[in-house]
Symmetry: D2
Amino acid sequence: MKNPCTATLLIKCQDRAGIVQAVSEFLYRYGANIVTLDQYSTEPEGGQYFMRVEFAVDDLPNVFDNLEESFSHTVAKTYQMQWQLFDNAKRKKVGILVSKYDHALLDILWRWQQGQMNCDIACVVSNHDDLRQAVENFGVPFHHVPVTKANKAEAEAQIHALMADCDLLVLARYMQILSPEFVSRWEMKVINIHHSFLPAFVGADPYRQAYDKGVKLIGATAHYVTAELDQGPIIEQDVHRVTHRQNVVELRAIGQDIERSVLTRAVRWHIENRVIVTGNKTVVFN
Amino acid sequence: MKNPCTATLLIKCQDRAGIVQAVSEFLYRYGANIVTLDQYSTEPEGGQYFMRVEFAVDDLPNVFDNLEESFSHTVAKTYQMQWQLFDNAKRKKVGILVSKYDHALLDILWRWQQGQMNCDIACVVSNHDDLRQAVENFGVPFHHVPVTKANKAEAEAQIHALMADCDLLVLARYMQILSPEFVSRWEMKVINIHHSFLPAFVGADPYRQAYDKGVKLIGATAHYVTAELDQGPIIEQDVHRVTHRQNVVELRAIGQDIERSVLTRAVRWHIENRVIVTGNKTVVFN
Amino acid sequence: MKNPCTATLLIKCQDRAGIVQAVSEFLYRYGANIVTLDQYSTEPEGGQYFMRVEFAVDDLPNVFDNLEESFSHTVAKTYQMQWQLFDNAKRKKVGILVSKYDHALLDILWRWQQGQMNCDIACVVSNHDDLRQAVENFGVPFHHVPVTKANKAEAEAQIHALMADCDLLVLARYMQILSPEFVSRWEMKVINIHHSFLPAFVGADPYRQAYDKGVKLIGATAHYVTAELDQGPIIEQDVHRVTHRQNVVELRAIGQDIERSVLTRAVRWHIENRVIVTGNKTVVFN
Amino acid sequence: MKNPCTATLLIKCQDRAGIVQAVSEFLYRYGANIVTLDQYSTEPEGGQYFMRVEFAVDDLPNVFDNLEESFSHTVAKTYQMQWQLFDNAKRKKVGILVSKYDHALLDILWRWQQGQMNCDIACVVSNHDDLRQAVENFGVPFHHVPVTKANKAEAEAQIHALMADCDLLVLARYMQILSPEFVSRWEMKVINIHHSFLPAFVGADPYRQAYDKGVKLIGATAHYVTAELDQGPIIEQDVHRVTHRQNVVELRAIGQDIERSVLTRAVRWHIENRVIVTGNKTVVFN
């Protein structure tokens, strides 16, 4: 679905008049055709400003570095922008961490196989060996890295090495808490699926918590992982209606459907460069 | 929509074989036709059992007392039931408490006027005088009962007196916290609409909390009022999708649409005797 | 919610490189700050191109005519645009046509009263007198224009006269079919709410049709009115889940909730200049 | 999730007083504990009556035949019931027909593998060989039965033979129209997923039709197959919101998510004996 000759520019800066003009004029001088342009300002004037521009340029590979360099010295400097430029022909490398539940993992792999996920799946790492066959059926490398209290640092080092060239880690129901050290090396590059509608039901066994509370909707939340458990910037959430009739086992089954679709959407938006983090929140241009 | 000659029986007891048989045989002896029957057991056998039966009997008004008395000595006794029997021709009396927001109030009054709410609206009480005209347009009495820190007990006494013959109080965005004394006199007879998806965002200004947290869905929760703020049994909840673009004012406007539909459904289920409270949860037969 | 000094520009043309640049540079020369910018192209290059820009300019009232004139001779000419420019301080005048059902009417009037609809409600016209009081309670003029087979042309002339200075007519469940002559005078300026999920259930009594068909969702559709009944460009649709249990009367009640929210959204998008018609479809920038 | 010692009774008859009593008394005499009981009547009295009872009996395998025989001569006869009794320990045999799209097929197979579908998957038949590996990965037999205009009758005979002992055929995007002869041999035993919100967009390429019409929601419909194409009793439907931005390819991708969840639910309800067909509609007790 991606044109191989497009690039995406993400911008964050103070809102001022003239930003669209400056960016579009800059791109126009490179002969770019703007494919999509989204912008958002927290306040009409003087707020935080966010922009996402996807543009097509002939012969992009030869132009890219020059364009990036030039933008840095001109528009980005003038408006004191934080910004990133992505060549959409360079697919992001994604590593997946999983334990025993396969629902979220399989949904991502299947969509990836269908061409719905514009990324490469580098490998899948699990602290159990159960899902090896399912992963290898997709032609994706599988690594079993057991984690115990004793070997945790070592295991994380091993994961880090296996994932070293990844742009994104996806925790597709990975039942180990990553250490602050690990997380800090992958800042805003780890997406987790939490099986509740956060901030409700932080912590262990949220479906049990939801059952005990008697809520009428259960949900799931995809968020970037930060040092504070279940507190990172939320990318996507969804819910499903339940009644008193569902027991905890049935809530889990319903929840899995929510989890897989929420995680898939969040990962897709990240790899399509649609997410900008601001403070502990996200701006999602989708 | 209600047949005037129907009654509704609500039952809670330990699950045992033969309950449906016993109840339906009992009713059959009175010539009753079962209109709807719902049942739920927390576990296949030996769990908590809940039942709702709506049945039609010719000449119900003359039969009702005898049927109730008889049920008490026979089936209810055998199965050690907690139970309630309602003559559906006797419409529940509902009192509404409101402050300045009119959205939930007007939705209930409009549906009531349309014949969608099978109850009588006894009166509306507010701590402000703003909504008098809107309420009186529906032909419903309006009472202004100002509440201050100083006069709170007195004001509650006044409300209690005005609502004395009501079967249900509805807090349609009533911005005063009812005292534990008041609440205990109206146990499981006060329904509140909280403007968040509980248990997320307990307390004040939940739309501000939701905005600050960056959630992707906002919600509302209708629950019975207990002494513990925002912690009573949940009757109904719903949510609506939002994005980073909505500010707090817009979240409030979107939230009002959720609040009014959630509260209306909860009130309707209560007056149609569809809600059974068990512990801090509800069984809703809808 | 609208800044009084903003204007909205709607554009339709052939897609070519440089449009964003040309428009934003043009606006920049007027000192405009772009508040929101949306664009859409049916194909990456060479398709139909659509744009909506909302921008703020100091002293807009004094600049507006000059800006409009200038745009016409420059950018609009270069790109052969079909375009419209709206001063957002000039609220659109809306006339409402209704018969006996009040649900959609009241929802619009209530939101208008709350300040959620950035328009003036010029008047309400009905072929019945039933809703006079309800309308006048909002301080809005009500006109009773009976329609019979015999007087239809005359009645439409009367409606036309009453609505003459309106920018938009809203059929909030108006149970008369407007003549092709009337419709042609109000091209893409009449919004109707049809009580089904079009194109399913065109014509009379769609809830009966839905019941007979046994669909599991019922819906409503807001569309511009064209000479062909129920076939105009769709602006908004929504649905609600139903089961075999709902009879036609209950479907109607559920449907009314969908109708009012769908119509309100469509009207709001129109008056906020978010809708561009293209062929028999709409582009909605919301 | 199913207790192996439960049975399900489905009943259709004229509504009369005493049915619940008669059925529950009958079951009580067999020492049955009613696990769930649902009933529905098209009208309060004298309408069509439908009932689903799931009950547990000790030593069901030894009692089943006797119970069935006895019911036939007593309650069923008295009330002139059409009825079916199912031993829930005997899992239904399901055959799946598919062409090249795998989304619906894989979702069913995965849920079946998870234990979420209480059935046996007898085999998968396809008119293409593409999905052989995917199916065999689940340990399910795969048969390639090519279909051409010339060999259609023969191919259908082959399918019929392969599926001979199945209780249900599922068309999980099978792109061949079954002959009336085939359909008549499998009356109300073939479930198809149609990729539109029926009755909108009957026939070929419904996502193209939806795109051309500019609808704001797309949907899918699971229905029993009858001789008349896309007209059989609807079991389940669902929709998803789209905008002008989605092209036909994207509508298809979104639609696949709806198709798989709608078909899965319909199949699950059928194998759990939750669906009763009445005329061209369904009563679904879920």
